[in-house]
Amino acid sequence: MKTDELINILSTGAQPVPQHAAEKRISMALLAGVVISFILLLMIYGIRPDLKEISTSVAFWMKLGVPLANVIIGFIFVFALAHPGKLPKLGYWVLAIPIVVLWGWALWAWNATDPTARLELLWGKTWRVCILNITFLALPVGATALLALRNLAPTKPVLTGAIAGWLAGSAGASVYALHCPEMAPPFLAVWYVLGMIVPSAMMAYMGHRYLRW
């Protein structure tokens, strides 16, 4: 086939391309993912009964704020990566800021605690299920993000997948924070972060498989 023929076929009957369609699609997808994740939380885990009492504590806001910061920063990167030729305006190190803050806080708490009581801070009572629960609650967000990204054009599919997974893991963690009884900073610094890394690795693979165009 001649290239001119192809051009004629492509341009014949050209339709207007809707504006901001990509922005709307990816935002709606993530919103839908978070809503599904929240419904799963209500159905399976339930919200912790003392939410009102702890909602004034620093620990609770750190636990919610760090993953939410990850979600916002992750979104900025995923959005840029999904558009060809658009470089993220921030350096990739910005992704690490919430985690550095969390670890700083955890180390401070670790040092301020009597050595005999430290292990309790790290292991808590629910470390066995933490990673699994966060990954489970990340699944809806990961799935909707993947669907939205398949309609866009990431030129680095693996990296885009990984950061979308990081975003999904963080969204899962912030939803899970409404149920999870753990409040110790070292627990959050280890298990919550691992719970974000697992979806990130899964989505890097999904990016490799499903985000090529």
């Binding site: 001649k2 492509l10 009957g13 504006q19 054009a153």
Partner: protein
């Protein structure tokens, strides 16, 4: 200068102006042909295939260009992605097949530039389901309006539009897999 000119054409194309879009694709194809030729010196006969694949990608990804941003970075990013994807496929293909045979094949078809690829869109079109094939045939090949195509097929106007869009994406995918 190229940026300004291409961007003006692109913005009109995004508003649905077919003439500007055709002109845009023609300019882009000569720019990208030169770009790909410089980089694929080992396989000059593949340039036109890859160029057409890139044009198809530009077409199916038009919505990922944001109107307030410069156009050339977007264009080159799409072209570069398609080229890297092609090289990746080719090296995988060569690992499985005898590379000498491929060389002989390239030598055999090597000739003057005809701006023609080895693909045939119409045979690929036959592989599409009717609800994508018919909208493309009526609107893209025979140049009918969406409303006419809807009346002829008994499909709704939006089903025609969706069929064209999804069908073009499916063709772009087939195009890749044929390589």
């Amino acid at each position: 200068m190229m940026e300004q000119e291409l961007r003006n054409l692109m913005l009109r194309a995004l508003d649905g102006n077919a003439e500007s879009y055709q002109c845009f694709l023609q300019r882009v194809s000569s720019v990208l042909r030169a770009y790909l030729r410089r980089r694929l010196t080992s396989a000059p006969d593949e340039v036109e295939d890859l160029l057409q694949e890139t044009l198809l990608a530009i077409h199916t990804q038009l919505h990922t260009y944001r109107r307030n941003e410069p156009l050339t970075p977007w264009l080159y990013a799409v072209a570069r992605y398609k080229m890297i994807d092609y090289l990746r496929r080719r090296s995988r293909h060569e690992a499985r097949h005898d590379p000498f045979e491929d060389d002989a094949e390239w030598l055999a078809v090597s000739g003057e530039a005809t701006n023609e690829s080895k693909r045939d869109l119409e045979t690929m079109l036959d592989a599409l389901p009717a609800h994508q094939r018919l909208p493309i045939q009526h609107t893209k090949l025979e140049g009918r309006s969406v409303a006419e195509a809807a009346a002829m097929t008994g499909m709704s106007v939006s089903a025609i539009k969706v069929g064209v869009h999804r069908g073009m994406k499916a063709l772009a995918k087939m195009w890749k897999e044929q390589a």
